[in-house]
């Protein structure tokens, strides 16, 4: 809870039909210093999103009067506030669909309070500027200076190929956020390569070997299995 004041006092809207989940999420967020309002239906959620102007939304995908995906699509017509999706479905396709529809992050049920708070923090930081303002990101033993296009590890410059650079820059720009495989392929390799998942696997391998202490146990370039990748500058714990 050592974030900026704006993040600490954010207003968060929870759209979730299960009262138990609503209750503990509300309590966890309030304990963290946020103000919370909640809605148990999609229609109610839309109205609250418009009238209460929350800084962040937490949306369950399975709502009694509609699909959370529809809410996100509707919302994205006029609202750019971060959305975190809660999904009870195990299908990765739902998560990808939510992310591609404009959600910023997701949590698969059951999730822990720690995870929830970390995601909320990261999303709020991005929404209020975050690292976008500062060209230098430090993570682990590395320092990534985007203004000078320079990466150093333990003070030594690390050579990156143009593709590796683009990939790292894109992930870093969305620090803490999941980028789907499709989004990464589209923006790094271009629209003709969105099916070429093996590029990603190989280049992520290269990046990890250059940046991580142990490539098989990454701390910053994380895999969201079946969905995509996430860059985390300061890992939990």
């Amino acid at each position: 809870m050592n974030d900026s004041a704006s993040a600490a006092s954010a207003h968060i809207l929870i759209v979730e039909d299960d009262p138990g989940i609503r209750r503990f999420v509300r309590q966890a967020l309030e304990d963290a210093g946020h103000s919370v309002s909640d809605a148990d239906r999609l229609q109610r959620g839309l109205i609250d999103a418009a009238t209460r102007k929350p800084d962040l939304l937490i949306v369950d995908l399975g709502l009694p009067d509609g699909d959370g995906l529809d809410l996100i699509r509707e919302l994205r017509g006029w609202n750019t506030q971060p959305v975190i999706v809660l999904s009870a479905r195990s299908g990765e396709a739902d998560k990808i669909a939510a992310l591609d529809a404009g959600a910023d992050d997701y949590l698969a049920k059951p999730f822990s309070v720690g995870e929830l708070l970390a995601r909320v923090r990261a999303a709020l930081r991005r929404a209020t500027g975050g690292h976008d303002g500062t060209p230098v990101i430090r993570f682990g033993a590395c320092c990534f200076d985007r203004a000078r296009r320079l990466l150093t590890r333990d003070g030594e410059p690390v050579h990156l190929t143009p593709v590796e650079y683009r990939l790292l820059a894109l992930l870093a720009a969305h620090e803490g956020q999941v980028l789907t495989q499709r989004q990464l392929l589209l923006q790094v390799w271009g629209p003709n390569s969105v099916e070429h998942a093996h590029y990603l696997r190989i280049y992520m391998g290269h990046l990890r070997r250059k940046l991580e202490q142990d490539a098989s146990r990454p701390r910053h370039l994380l895999t969201e299995t079946g969905v995509g990748y996430r860059f985390v500058a300061e890992p939990l714990n």
């Binding site: 299960d18 093996h198 696997r201 990890r208 299995t225």
Partner: protein, 907 residues
């Protein structure tokens, strides 16, 4: 335009391609053709076989008749011989060619001497040439020998030259379809010399007849015939070559007006007509039809002669004709209509179509000779008349002595009795009226009696009635009464009028009756077919279709029918009892396998009591229709066979329709149940995970709140949290297992790196593994895997979790991967206590744990999930203890590797 002329007709090309394909699939037939016995056909064939064997080909001798000639027998040396089949017939043992042995042996070439040979009764085919056809169908090349007098269409000609009729004949089709014909020729003088030297085998019992046969004149004529027939074939070859290579000519060669129509009458000249037409049609390379027009008069023919006509039609069919039986009153009109309908330009007929001694009414207007009527009706048709041989005609006319004739006699007697009765009645009735009426009116009453008799009993009874009535009228009514006086000669006029009226009415009645019969029969046929089609349309199961088909066929052919269905392995299932006869499943299977009719009235085991017709449906044969008719004759009539074929086709289509409906229903059912299963699992997953999420979240909050206050209950809250997490894990495992076992998992294939899978599994298991040391040994250049990322991560996570669960804290867990041949092998090993005693494979069974009483949590689903996932990917998993001196367990899994798409180009 010029292009159009040169461009080959696509249909012709197709036909050609099909013929080529057929030729490739079927065995080739090579015929050694000679003018008579003794020219050395067998020797030539064996000589060629020896040469063939020298080149290393697989040649087998099926039958070779050496007739004890040593030079021929010598030629057999070194060739593989098939043992003959012994057939015991009336105490004698005959040696026959063993078709099944030849089919089983499957040589490249089999030698079968004497193509025209008739097999012993009880063999599969009556004729050896049919055995040869079956061998060729099986893709085996056949070499054989034939003499010119055995060629069907030359049979008469040879008979006419030599005076000896040969019964064993080979259809021209077989000869013409041969891939190669080798003429074995020997000058006549040399042949006679060989005969004198005793080098030619002659059957002893017919020696004299055969010696007559071997006269120089005969032999020269036969030699000429053989040479000519070979020349015709060579010409055919040239023609088909031209057709293949000069596409433009194909249209000029095909002239439909060359097509022949031969009219088969009741006389014995039928066979001769048919053979003549066959020869002409073969020369012109034209299609030909043979028809029999059944008139009311012909319908009254005795059974034996009608059967003869049908046999003539069968002969025509075997010579390649399209055959038909027409029912009509006027032969000429029917023939002309048929010729025009089928565009047949030439008509072949006997000189007269009726009896030699013509009844007087044949000279009435409109009863002119058949040929003249045809000429008048259709001047464009070319007529070819063949003179009839009256002697043979008479000989061929057997006396009718069967039931049908005696029934007709009884009917006639009844007619005469009625005529006499009516005559007496009119006489009695008219006697009192004589006072009142003129004689002219009395005679009208008698005329009425003649008309009534004619209407009821036809011409003969009418004739008798006319005679009786004139006599009665003259005797009882014409003065002087009760005498026949000379002046009564004028009543000859009365008699003549009565006769003519009676005959005309009788004729009219008879033809009317005939037309009614024909119409009724046609209507019956149409109604039967319609009813069957309608019932079949309503049938919902194959059993219903069979029952309807069996009933309809049985009714239409006055016999018993049974339908044998094929199972998935193309074997026919014997039908249930209760069909009125026992179908021969073996023969039915033969018909099914060969797609040909077999049994009664066919070329295959014609002696069988029933006929077996394969049920050809559009996609594949569906079974066999077995029919045991009341009379075999019924099946020989072409119309009846066509009717039966129509029935069979309808049944086949109905069976197929029902089959596809069943398939569609099954598919729908499985789609529906899969959909249900998936939605059930999804709902279950949602309903179980939601409360668990709340439980975990709330206990976490509780723990945090209590811990902040320093309350002792914080530990309880922590325990609740741990239990809730475990339950969540269990639920996830159970749902996954249910999904995998239900086959409801569809794999989302993608390229994956083992390093990432291990990394994310380790990250997910961080709390579980924090008291163990994990070492990874994954080379940087490890090939990518192709599989479902989530499921394979699950495999890694389950194996790591297992290792953590069953080894003491501080143990070393090692993950290593290496490519091995075509697959990638991954090992997760530990240095713990190792696997429990027993079969390590049992660990992968659902709900199996190493130690059933262990307090370690988990139900033992983890490993079986791993195996299910890996097997779905085409890989597998095994467990073992590490070989000493190392200790601990090792779980080894592998997946097939796939060629990865190119990457370097996109660096």
């Amino acid at each position: 335009m010029a292009d159009d002329e040169i461009r080959p007709d696509p249909d012709a090309l197709l036909a050609l391609a099909r013929a080529e394909a057929d030729r490739a699939a079927r065995g080739r037939l090579k015929i050694f053709f000679g003018s008579s016995a003794g020219v050395g056909k067998t020797w030539a064939m064996l000589d060629a076989a020896q040469r063939m064997r020298a080149t290393g080909s697989d040649v087998v001798v099926g039958v070779a008749e050496t007739h004890g000639r040593s030079d021929t027998a010598r030629k057999l040396e070194g060739l593989e011989l098939l043992l003959p089949r012994d057939v015991v017939l009336q105490g004698r043992t005959l040696k026959e060619f063993d078709l099944d042995a030849a089919l089983a042996r499957r040589p490249a070439v089999v030698l079968v001497d004497e193509l025209a040979h008739s097999n012993a009764p009880g063999s599969r085919h009556p004729k050896r040439w049919q055995d040869v056809e079956e061998l060729r169908d099986a893709g085996i090349d056949v070499w054989t020998t034939v003499n010119v007098q055995h060629i069907e269409s030359l049979n008469d000609v040879v008979g006419g030259i030599t005076g000896i009729r040969v019964r064993e004949t080979v259809p021209d089709r077989v000869f013409d379809e041969a891939s190669e014909v080798v003429l074995v020729d020997l000058p006549t003088d040399d042949l006679l010399r060989r005969l004198r030297e005793g080098k030619i085998y002659l059957p002893e019992q017919a020696e004299r007849a055969v010696r007559n046969f071997f006269r120089k004149g005969n032999l020269m004529a036969l030699r000429e015939l053989a040479l000519r027939r070979t020349a015709e074939r060579v010409e055919d070859d040239v023609r088909s070559y031209r057709r293949a290579h000069v596409a433009r000519d194909s249209r000029a060669v095909w002239q439909v007006s060359d097509a022949l129509l031969v009219c088969v009458g009741p006389g014995a000249e039928g066979d001769r007509l048919v053979r003549a037409a066959a020869r002409r049609a073969a020369l012109a390379d034209a299609p030909w039809h043979a028809i029999y027009v059944e008139t009311p008069a012909l319908q009254r023919l005795p059974e034996a002669r009608r059967r003869r006509i049908l046999q003539t039609l069968k002969l025509a069919e075997s010579l390649g004709a399209t055959v038909a039986t027409l029912a009509a009153e006027d032969i000429a009109a029917a023939v002309v209509a048929y010729a025009r309908e089928h565009n047949l330009g030439t008509l072949v007929a006997g000189q007269t179509a009726d009896r030699p001694l013509r009844a007087p009414w044949h000279y009435l207007p409109g009863r002119r000779p058949f040929a003249r009527r045809v000429m008048k009706a259709a001047p464009e048709i070319e007529l070819m008349l063949i003179a009839r041989d009256l002697a043979s005609d008479a000989a061929a006319m057997p006396l009718s002595g069967d039931d049908e004739a005696s029934e007709r006699t009884a009917r006639r007697a009844r007619g005469y009795a009625w005529a006499a009765g009516l005559c007496a009645a009119v006489t009695v009735l008219a006697t009192p009226l004589l006072e009142v009426f003129d004689l002219a009116n009395i005679v009208m009453l008698f005329l009425l009696a003649v008309v009534l008799t004619a209407v009821r009993f036809g011409r003969r009874a009418a004739l008798a009635s006319a005679l009786m009535n004139v006599l009665a009228f003259d005797f009882f009514f014409v003065p002087p009464r009760f005498t026949f006086s000379v002046s009564d000669a004028q009543y000859l006029v009365t008699f003549a009028v009565m006769t003519v009226v009676g005959l005309v009415v009788g004729q009219l009645t008879a033809s009317l009756q005939y037309q009614v019969n024909v119409a009724r029969y046609r209507e019956q046929r149409a109604r039967g077919l319609f009813e069957m089609a309608r019932d079949l349309g309503r049938a919902l199961t194959v059993e219903q279709v069979c029952e309807i088909g069996e009933k309809a066929v049985g009714r239409a052919f006055r016999g018993h029918a049974a339908i044998l269905l094929a199972d998935d392995a193309q074997r026919l299932l014997p039908p249930d009892a209760g069909h009125g006869f026992e179908p021969d499943v073996g023969l039915a299977q033969w018909a099914y396998d060969h797609g040909e009719a077999a049994g009664s009235g066919t070329g295959t085991l014609p002696g069988a009591p029933a006929l077996y017709l394969p049920l050809h449906a559009p996609t594949r044969p569906r079974g066999v229709l077995a029919l045991k008719p009341s009379g075999a004759r019924l099946l020989m009539i072409p119309e009846q066979r066509q009717l039966l074929d129509t029935h069979a086709a309808l049944v086949a289509i109905a069976i197929e329709r029902v089959h596809f409906v069943q398939v569609a229903q099954d598919t729908l059912l499985s789609i529906e149940s899969e959909r249900l299963r998936n939605s059930l699992l999804a709902a279950l997953s949602h309903d179980l995970r939601t409360p668990l999420t709340a439980l975990i979240g709330m206990s976490e909050n509780l723990h945090a709140a209590l811990a902040r206050r320093g309350a002792g209950e914080a530990d309880d809250a922590s325990a609740i949290l741990a239990q809730a997490r475990r339950t969540a894990q269990l639920v996830a495992n159970l749902l996954d297992m249910a999904r995998l076992q239900a086959g409801a998992v569809s794999l989302h294939h993608d390229w994956l790196s083992l390093e990432e899978l291990t990394g994310s599994a380790l990250a997910a298991l961080k709390p579980v593994l924090d008291r163990h040391v994990v070492h990874t040994d994954l080379p940087a250049d490890l090939p990518l895997l192709y599989g479902d990322a989530v499921l394979l991560e699950r495999v890694m996570a389950n194996l790591l979790e297992n290792a953590a669960k069953y080894t003491p804290p501080g143990s070393l867990i090692t993950v290593s991967g290496r490519p091995e041949g075509e697959s990638l092998t991954v090992e997760v090993s530990d240095d713990g206590p190792g696997l429990p005693a027993g079969d390590p494979d049992a660990l992968f069974l659902t709900f199996k744990r190493g130690d059933p009483e262990s307090s370690t949590p988990g139900v033992g689903l983890g490993l079986s999930i791993c195996r299910a996932i890996l097997r779905a990917h085409g890989g597998d998993i095994e467990a073992a203890n590490r070989p000493p001196p190392a200790r601990g367990a090792v779980f080894r899994w592998w997946l097939p590797l796939r060629a990865m798409p190119d990457v370097e180009a996109h660096l």
